[in-house]
Amino acid sequence: MELSEHLFRRESGRLVAALTRIFGIHNLALAEDVVQDAFCRALEVWKVRGVPDNPSGWLMAVAKNRALDIVRRERTARTFAPELARVLESEWTLAPAIEEAFASPVMRDEQLKMMFSCCHPSLPEETQIALVLNTLCGFGASEIASAFLVGRAAMEKRISRGKKILAGEHRLFDLSHADFDSRLSAVRRALYLLFSEGYHSASSETAVRTELCGEAIRMTRLLLEAPAAAQPETYALAALMCLHAARLPGRVDVSGDLNPLLEQDRSRWDRKLADEGLALLDRSATGEVVSAYHLEAAIAAAHDAAPSVAATNWTAIVQLYDRLMEVAPSPVVALNRAIAIAQIEGPESGLEALHAIPDAGRLSRYPFYPAALGELELRRGNLDAARSHFSSAAALARNPVERRFLERRANVCATE
């Protein structure tokens, strides 16, 4: 039997969720210990005897037995989940209650509740993301720290502060709560940021970035499984992730260097994922609200559908950016809009649009603002101006991959 990819990481989130249902959120650390124990056991037995036919079932059985032992031994000394207090007291109901916590639909709901709890409004967004990765995706603090280029100790502190808030809530977020919709939009936002983090850099390691995108997609799919959460905006979010992720294989080349969209080898794009994105986008097209997720997904779809840069429907893309500027204006959106305008009307118009960005000051640390100026100056033959823009962009680079890319662009100006 082969070990399926990321088995332990996948199982970690499910098992922690089921155990938290029994132990209560204030005993999250206990739930994590039980899972860790089950993994240790698996490691010891499987490495000699081989992986069993149903590894998930095996791990679940170990976790159930441990949970049963712990509740029996500690029910007088410790309080477990308040909702289950009565049920856990009696031997008649204890075992069935534990069985139930590990039933698939219950586990799924528990994971959702955990996800909603992690996106608590009193937690900063970066803590929400770290908590989702830690408790639901099975990432260790050190792994999250390196993905986000933060020190390990700082990340541990961030996670433990977040868990303290979770524990203080005494119970997980109730999916029938009146605040469901506003919390749902916080969840979507956190998943969006998680995806963006993976897609747009921070970390230089390609593998890590692809994994973060993959986890964001997995969590969004989980969200779609809950009828109440499967709203048009959630479909749009899932669509935009799939449509962007479809281009990931072309975005970074074999040597780990960044390829701009305009130069990508489109045959490397993941067609299957793009099709899934389009299907999700179709499903998102109901209701009256056109959210930023809808518009971003539509822009991504226009790129995915185009066989080449020249055959791209830039007019439609500019129109979508115009609408995005109304719904969710930001200097980065304006920057992308200017680049699309340059594709239709030429570099002069693009530069004009770049200079007209209302609060361009907010882009002063963003390397792709001078890089865009550089591209357009290069296109109209202003090599000196282009080179100096690329050099200032390289100075702002946030990681070695970006720096190499921008330095390469600066060198192009020198040789032409």
Binding site: L3, F8, C40, L43, E44, K47, R49, G50, G138, F139
Partner: protein
């Protein structure tokens, strides 16, 4: 070909090391599977053996039955495997690929005594 017993000795620290995060567990699992499959493919794997619980009892006589060994003990026997090899040198060499070594554990290689009768 002679038979040899591999006795896997682990320290609490090496167990912890292998289990740092789910992904770390996954990687150590994969290394073990690959190593075992290699032994098997080359015809050295006689008996995959068994893993052992970490604690039990230590019996030293009628009135000397105690719980143990303790997990704090320096190294615990975590399990065993029986391999076939030409000689002790080959058996020792084959054990060099064992992932337990990377985590700070050790493999004790012992020839199974031949009964020439």
């Amino acid at each position: 070909m002679s038979q040899f017993l591999y006795i896997y000795r682990v320290t609490a620290q090496s167990r912890q090391e292998a289990m740092g995060t789910p992904e770390r567990a996954q990687q150590s699992m994969q290394r073990w599977m690959k190593w075992m499959a290699d032994l098997d493919a080359k015809g050295h794997l006689k008996d995959r053996g068994q893993p052992l619980e970490n604690t039990g009892k230590v019996v030293r006589g009628q009135n000397a039955v105690v719980d143990g060994p303790y997990t704090e003990a320096k190294d615990l026997v975590g399990g065993y495997t029986i391999v076939e090899a030409r000689d002790i040198d080959q058996a020792a060499e084959l054990s060099l690929g064992c992932p337990i070594l990377a985590g700070g554990g050790s493999v004790e290689v012992r020839p199974v005594m031949k009964m020439d009768m």
